[in-house]
Symmetry: C2
Subunit: 336 residues, 2 copies
């Protein structure tokens, strides 16, 4: 570790996070499950292939356009399971509450939890509540952990991308991060920007129905599309080429990013899925995605090349090519 | 709810916690799993009986005699699974870190996690790390969630106690709560008091091997032995009679409780297990417990009666009987 203390970017989902996991946590906790470095683990329960994952949510503010910390916590864990090709089944919910939190706020958050779990058909089966004295936690943190069943025929992993594959995304990027930031800073742009937070299990299920041979599913959350694609390129020993003009971004989000000096390719999404699959299945899967409410804006944004291995290349609108690196630093803290 | 804000005793594990769960969370999230109100849920995964549980840890201080927040988090989840008769298999680990936390502290905590998971043979399969800015979380909070397999022949539940059953415990009570409190307040008693934090899966496995007909397993954590027995009495519609002079307490803990004005029956344990089973199997199970390192102090402390239903009675050393109620108020905050 370069420093002797934990810094904000150790939680950014970018380079410092990866270093913390690989150089600090893995040597202490080393086992084959953690070494996979996926967002969720695949374990065996008497022969059943089961996905298991956890996430803590510390988003600030806890209410934002398009959701709240409760709906976000459910969506995030549902999506991590979905990215393994698993059918999400059961969820646990751990709450850490600040003394003095208004019940009205907790009510709204729990309604977000209830609605999100209903939409994604995941059952909340166990919970835990801790309360700490005022000033020792900021309002409300949530942990969700989930399990889901992976059908035997499905084998998706960040290490499965192959040259010749295409890269799909199900809609506009950067909505979540910009919605949080504008809410937190009290900024007002020409039109309201809403988080894309959504459960993706239905969409993924429709895609896998059309094409069980999907190679990679990945939700570009902290660190954004650029960081997620770097993880895939590195794990699969391939290059990913992204076409800048094909990456869908709404006008308000593009303007906001320009004003704020943020690259939308590094901004967090909470309802987006990068899908990498053999080119021959691309059209059929895109069609299935477009029939789903969360895939209406689906499009092909890139392809997988043999080299340079481990790199993500951006073909810019003016015809140049530049390397897109992993996020360094904490671009936006407490985004989820 | 009586108040309009969250108070410390909503996290105490006592009466206010139960009210929060039953009157606030259940109506919003209602499903048959949560309605069981056990420490962990029993779910089905393609026909396999699986226990699933979660707990967040906010203990203050994070280092204490007998363990740290890391070992405690693993033990707590291993024990919740064990109390369903499950064999603990897989664990997820969610960390919320305060910016500026020394790596040296994180290292010690993670060594606690690693050692505890090794001893209990549970595998940490997925993790998540969030960092929040200085002052927005107190050092380090941990969430653990776990799954385990329940053998088909085992059926333990807080609702299974029957008149004629006996109540066993595996050793001295109140060690954990008093160890935390003395460490936090900088108190020094005649001899050092250590937390009893320990993984109980090996002990429980040995007990169930001798007697698969065990009715109830419960770890008396927040709220202590008195609160756990009240939950059992209430869920099983029976009375539990406890013999005061049989409840094992070490001399230093007894003295500390007297000085601090605490009733040890309400103080948290993290390595204790209340076991309720048919009287005819009592001796055999006690013998098995005494052969295990975490059951050396095992003893019979009470029995189950038909009435008064839902009540816990304490037969005092002077021959009287008094009702032991559920914990009210937050006797000791941030004990786990």
């Amino acid at each position: 570790m370069h420093s002797e203390q934990i810094a904000l970017d150790h939680g950014s989902g970018g380079e410092a996070s990866a270093e913390l996991v690989e150089k600090f946590f893995l040597p202490i906790l080393d086992n084959p499950f953690l070494r996979e470095l996926d967002d969720s683990a695949v374990v065996s329960l008497n022969g059943e292939k089961v996905a298991m994952t956890t996430d803590s949510y510390v988003v600030d503010p806890i209410f934002f356009p398009g959701g709240n910390i409760g709906s976000l916590a459910v969506h995030g864990t549902v999506n991590d399971l979905s990215m393994q090709g698993a059918q999400p089944l059961y969820l646990t919910l751990g709450l850490i509450l600040e003394e003095g939190l208004p019940f009205e706020d907790l009510q709204k958050v729990m309604e977000g939890v209830a609605q999100a779990s209903k939409e994604s058909s995941i059952k909340i089966v166990a919970g835990d509540t801790k309360v700490v004295s005022k000033g020792h936690v900021d309002k409300l943190f949530i942990n969700t952990a989930g399990v889901g069943l992976i059908p035997p025929a499905i084998n998706v992993s960040a290490g499965n991308a192959r040259p010749g594959d295409v890269v799909l995304i199900n809609g506009n990027i950067a909505d979540h991060g910009i919605a949080i930031l504008t809410q937190r800073e009290g900024l007002h742009f020409q039109s309201s920007i809403r988080s894309d937070s959504a459960p993706l299990n239905g969409l993924v299920s429709a895609m896998l129905h059309v094409c069980p041979e999907v190679h990679v599913l990945r939700d570009p959350t902290r660190g954004g599309v650029a960081t997620a694609l770097n993880e895939i390129a590195s794990r699969s020993n391939v290059a990913v080429q992204l076409y800048e003009e094909r990456v869908p971004i709404s006008d308000p989000v593009r303007s906001a990013c320009e004003m704020l000096g943020l690259d939308p390719l590094y901004v967090a999404n909470e309802g987006k899925c990068l899908t990498i699959l053999p080119r021959k299945h691309g059209e059929a899967v895109l069609k299935a995605m477009k029939h789903h409410p969360y895939g209406a804006g689906a499009t092909m944004i890139g392809e997988v090349l043999e080299s340079p291995q481990g790199r993500v290349l951006l073909k810019t609108q003016v015809g140049g090519t530049r390397i897109l690196s992993t996020l360094t630093g904490a671009q936006l803290p407490r985004i989820c």
